[in-house]
């Protein structure tokens, strides 16, 4: 049985691990690194509960080999918030009741984070499209869309303030 020595950066922290060829990335994250916020829901790339960011791109970690992730930057829900505790998206999900059982939530958050990174002001249709690979069985999606919109607004406002501050310095 072949094993491989790999190194990954997860939420900014470097990790080395020895994995089997077949070890799935989601099991490396959950079982080896004990970051259990990333969940397994379907095994066939349909539900997105296992979504993490792999070099910034939302990816279903149940259908990636751990060894394929060698040398990559991985972001999981545990690293979403900065030192201040809650990312604007997490706040949005809380404010807008974008979660119920919470099982799909980490995957939704990671997908949402990647969307806002790429498209800071998405329309409802764009949000719906972006999360269409993440199944939620509890919320009916309406509040998830609102949660992402909340975060977009908040992050936009924050960016504006930052810009205004910068402008101020410039003038």
């Amino acid at each position: 049985m072949a094993t491989h020595q790999i190194s990954v950066t997860v939420n900014g922290e470097a990790h080395a691990a020895e994995v089997e060829s077949r070890t799935l990335l989601v099991h490396l994250i959950r079982d080896d690194l004990r970051l259990t916020g990333t969940h397994i829901g379907c095994d066939t790339t349909h539900c997105g509960a296992c979504t993490v960011l792999l070099d910034g791109k939302p990816t279903k970690s149940c259908t990636v080999l751990a060894v394929q992730a060698n040398g990559t930057e991985i972001a999981t829900v545990e690293g979403l918030a900065g030192a201040d505790g809650m990312h604007a998206l997490q706040e949005g999900f809380w404010e807008k009741h974008g979660l119920q059982c919470g099982f799909c939530t980490p995957g939704m958050l990671m997908t949402g984070a990647a969307l806002l990174e790429e498209n800071p002001n998405p329309s409802e249709a764009e949000i719906r499209e972006a999360i269409s690979g993440n199944l939620c069985r509890c919320t009916g999606y309406v509040n998830i869309v609102k949660a992402v919109q909340y975060a977009a607004e908040k992050m936009g406002a924050a960016a504006e303030t930052a810009n205004a501050a910068t402008d101020g310095e410039d003038s």
Partner: protein, 788 residues
């Protein structure tokens, strides 16, 4: 309705942000697969690929050679402990592992225990089972034919495949109404087998301590206390008595009814832990979950309505065949084999009704779990709401108008239904009015007429449902004899903070928040200061669990009652502190004051502190109460849903353009959470209406065994739900509240089906079975000559 409490207290009526959310949002939830115990082993299950057949042999030798595999358990191994069979919650029996025959595809055949997840999976692949397949009985109608093979040969005295026959109502009187009626309409329909498909599958970690003989089972269960009792009954003879069993239900990633029963996997994992003396974890994968457990519905119904020429409903007659699969493993109250199906007369007043159900065994996995539904209410409502539309079309009346003309009038409550229910309260016209207004019903009908003239297909569907939930009053409701009360235990600490424990178990409903709000409402303690706990049988008071929208009607009521007991004691303390008599006290949330001297007051926190420090003579210290609430009646929430669909004449695709849901669940504890429950329920309504089904081929193969074919709606198929509400309090619930979690799942499918049929009604179409898939619609369009 304005909340009575301030935002600081956050009692009923406040859209308080959920207390449980931060841990879920930060990836710190504690779901079953997150639990790791020292020395833990993994269990994986060998499942039958065939639906019916003999096991000629199980060869474990190659599996035992797989590195990391420690043991393979079979039915024969369990037989030695008499653990190869277990009772179901409906007093039927079910194999844990088979000794000679498999009865459905994906049935558990053997279990492999190994040191890792991966080794266990390899072990499963290496177990060789020699099957002698037999021709399965898949069609429930054929199962009742005389020459059908008897499937349950293990049951003494069982000479056919009928499980039970059940009926409600006066058959003769109903037949007479039908004979006299001007109009009779009839529809045959099938509400197919579906699956709850919670995003988290089932699983457990069984941890038997051989030194103390103590078993802890962490499991995805909606009913931890009942499960503990069942385990004690199943395994008492091998020394597991109830005081030595602790069931812990951690965070649950969706339940919807699928996590009520005891599945063989749980029992095998426990047996494995007992045998090996180590913790054993079993987690289903998605295919196992979709193939072996958590199935709902599967009712074949023939419904007839008798009416006057103008559409006044006089009677209802329903004949039903219920396909339960291999075993009657429903989680229904024991006196209600067909659940609460007799709510089928719905929101309409009529003279007579008669319903009968025959249940039958087939070679499918046990069915009958309630998929977000209070025991067969979904089937009953679907049946009634569909056939009401047929009647409307038959007598040429608008379906909304025909409903209005037949509603039980609001003055008639409490209303005695012809099938024996006493509806607590209702105002159906108000919900209808609001829904019509929100959606602009009359304009839509005009638009439809214009489109119809142009050959476009648009439909408007109406559903006015009545739910029945909150099981239930102990005189009628029990599971395995255990009365269906529920419980709360509230303890106020000296500094005025509280812990409240309940016999239910949240799976996303937000109990940690809503229960805290109930306590806040009654005691005036800020909800933020009330810690809610559920799911640990060692600490929580005994209750029957969370399903069938029963938490608010039962445990929620228990919480209110316990808080009131505490308030009563606090009043004595307040009187003592202010040196007045109890009769001289006024209460407002959080504060006792002296009548006529509102400045003289003590807070509930003051009383709490005094309960431990400064008590009136003769009063027992402490400030806590436990309440076991036995509801006097069920609650009957209701609503009117209206939806608009457009049909693609080329492909048969149905698009839900708009969907308005007006619900009435009595007084509302947390409006945000109630709306969230409705949104989720609606989505689990559009699923079965348009997408979800577990079909079997004639060989018993499950054809929707993964999310590739079990079509859970995504954000793209789900419309932007529009919700509204009316409030008609329950007269008997302490808070005037009713349940709500399942209303939308019950009401949405017929609204959508009615809309599709409405779009095609002018072509002579009266019915389409759910799920209404594009190919089904196209076949109709093609037959009627209107396909593109």
């Amino acid at each position: 309705m304005a909340p009575k409490t301030s935002a600081d207290i956050c009692g009923m009526g406040h859209s308080m942000k959920r207390k449980e959310d931060p841990r879920f949002l930060q990836g710190k939830g504690n779901y079953i697969d997150d639990i790791v115990l020292p020395g833990m082993l993994w269990l994986d299950i060998v499942r039958s690929p065939i639906a019916y057949g003999k096991i000629k042999g199980i060869d474990s030798s190659k599996a035992l050679e797989v590195p990391g595999v420690l043991a393979v358990l079979t039915g024969k191994d369990l037989e030695a402990y008499n653990l190869h069979w277990m009772p179901t919650l409906m007093s039927d029996t079910q194999m844990v592992l088979p000794t000679d025959t498999v009865m459905y595809q994906a049935q558990e055949v053997a279990a492999v225990i190994a040191t890792s997840r991966y080794a266990a999976a390899d072990g499963v692949a290496a177990v060789e089972v020699d099957y002698e397949p037999m021709k399965p009985v898949i069609d429930p109608f054929k199962a009742l034919e005389e020459d059908a093979p008897v499937l349950r040969t293990d049951k003494e005295g069982q000479t056919d495949n009928r499980i039970w026959h059940w009926e409600a109502g006066d058959k003769e009187a109903t037949d007479k109404v039908f004979e006299e009626a001007d109009v009779v309409v009839r529809e045959s329909m099938h509400v197919p087998r579906i699956h709850v498909a919670s995003i988290e599958t089932c699983g457990c970690v069984a941890d038997f301590n051989p030194v103390e003989g103590h078993l802890t089972v962490y499991m995805t269960t909606q009913a931890p206390h009942a499960i503990r009792t069942v385990l004690a009954l199943v395994a008492g003879h091998v020394g597991l008595s109830e005081e030595k069993i602790r069931v812990v239900s951690p965070d649950i990633g969706g339940g919807f009814g699928g996590k009520v029963p005891v599945y063989p996997g749980y029992v095998v994992a426990i047996a494995a832990s007992v045998v090996l003396g180590k913790p054993v974890k079993w987690i289903e994968d998605r295919m196992e979950n979709l193939q072996a457990d958590s199935f709902a519905r599967d009712y074949h119904m023939d419904a007839e309505l008798a009416a006057d020429a103008d559409g006044k409903i006089r009677g209802l007659r329903i004949k039903t065949l219920a396909d339960h699969g291999y075993s009657d493993a429903q989680a229904a109250p024991s006196k209600f084999p067909a659940g609460l199906f007799s709510i089928c007369t719905g929101s309409y007043d009529m003279e007579q009704a008669y319903a009968e159900v025959d249940a039958v065994y087939t070679n499918k996995p046990p069915g009958g779990v309630a998929y977000r539904c209070s025991f067969r209410v979904t089937e009953a409502v679907h049946c009634m709401e569909r056939v009401v539309d047929t009647l409307a079309h038959k007598v040429g009346k608008d379906p909304a108008q025909l409903r209005e003309e037949n509603f039980i009038p609001k003055e008639a409550f409490p209303y005695q239904s012809p099938l024996g229910w006493e509806y607590d309260s209702g105002d159906y016209q108000a919900a209808m009015d609001k829904a019509r207004e929100m959606i602009g019903y009359d304009d839509l009908r005009r638009e439809q007429a214009e489109k119809r003239a142009r050959g476009e297909l648009m439909g408007i569907g109406v559903c006015s449902f009545t739910e029945v939930l909150g099981a239930g009053p102990s005189k009628d409701f029990d599971i395995l004899g255990i009365k269906m009360f529920d419980s709360a235990e509230v303890r106020v600490h000296p500094t005025g903070k509280a812990i409240a424990r309940f016999g239910t178990k949240s799976q996303g409903q937000g109990h940690e928040t809503t229960y805290a709000q109930i306590i806040a409402e009654e005691l005036g303690l800020p909800a933020a200061h009330v810690q809610v706990e559920e799911g640990d049988t060692d600490t929580a008071p005994y209750g029957l669990g969370t399903y069938a929208s029963r938490s608010t009607p039962t445990a929620g009521a228990a919480g209110a009652m316990a808080a009131r007991q505490i308030r009563a004691k606090a009043a004595k303390i307040a009187a003592h502190l202010m040196e007045v008599s109890e009769e001289d006290l006024d209460w407002e949330p959080g504060k006792f004051s002296v009548k006529g001297a509102p400045d003289r007051s003590v807070t509930i926190q003051d009383c709490a502190f005094a309960a431990y420090t400064n008590l009136p003579e003769g009063l027992e210290p402490g400030l806590e109460a436990t309440n076991y609430y036995d509801p006097p009646n069920l609650t009957f929430p209701f609503g009117t849903y209206i939806c608009v669909v457009d049909i693609d004449r080329g492909t048969g695709e149905v698009t839900v353009r708009r969907f308005v849901a007006v619900d009435d669940c009595g007084n509302i504890i947390n409006p945000m959470i109630v709306q969230g429950q409705i949104h989720g329920g609606l989505t689990q309504g559009i699923g079965p209406a348009l997408f979800e089904e577990i079909p079997y081929d004639e060989d018993g193969n499950n054809l929707a065994g993964s999310f590739m074919d079990y079509l859970v709606p995504t954000s793209m198929e789900t419309p932007a739900w529009e919700t509204g509400h009316t409030i008609t309090p329950s007269p008997h619930h302490p808070l005037g509240a009713k349940g709500v979690g399942e209303s939308a799942t019950v009401g949405a499918p017929p609204a959508i089906a009615n809309a599709v049929v409405d779009a095609l009604a002018h072509l002579g179409v009266t019915h389409l079975d759910i799920p209404i898939t594009p190919d089904k619609v196209w076949e109709v369009l093609n037959e009627k000559g209107v396909a593109e």
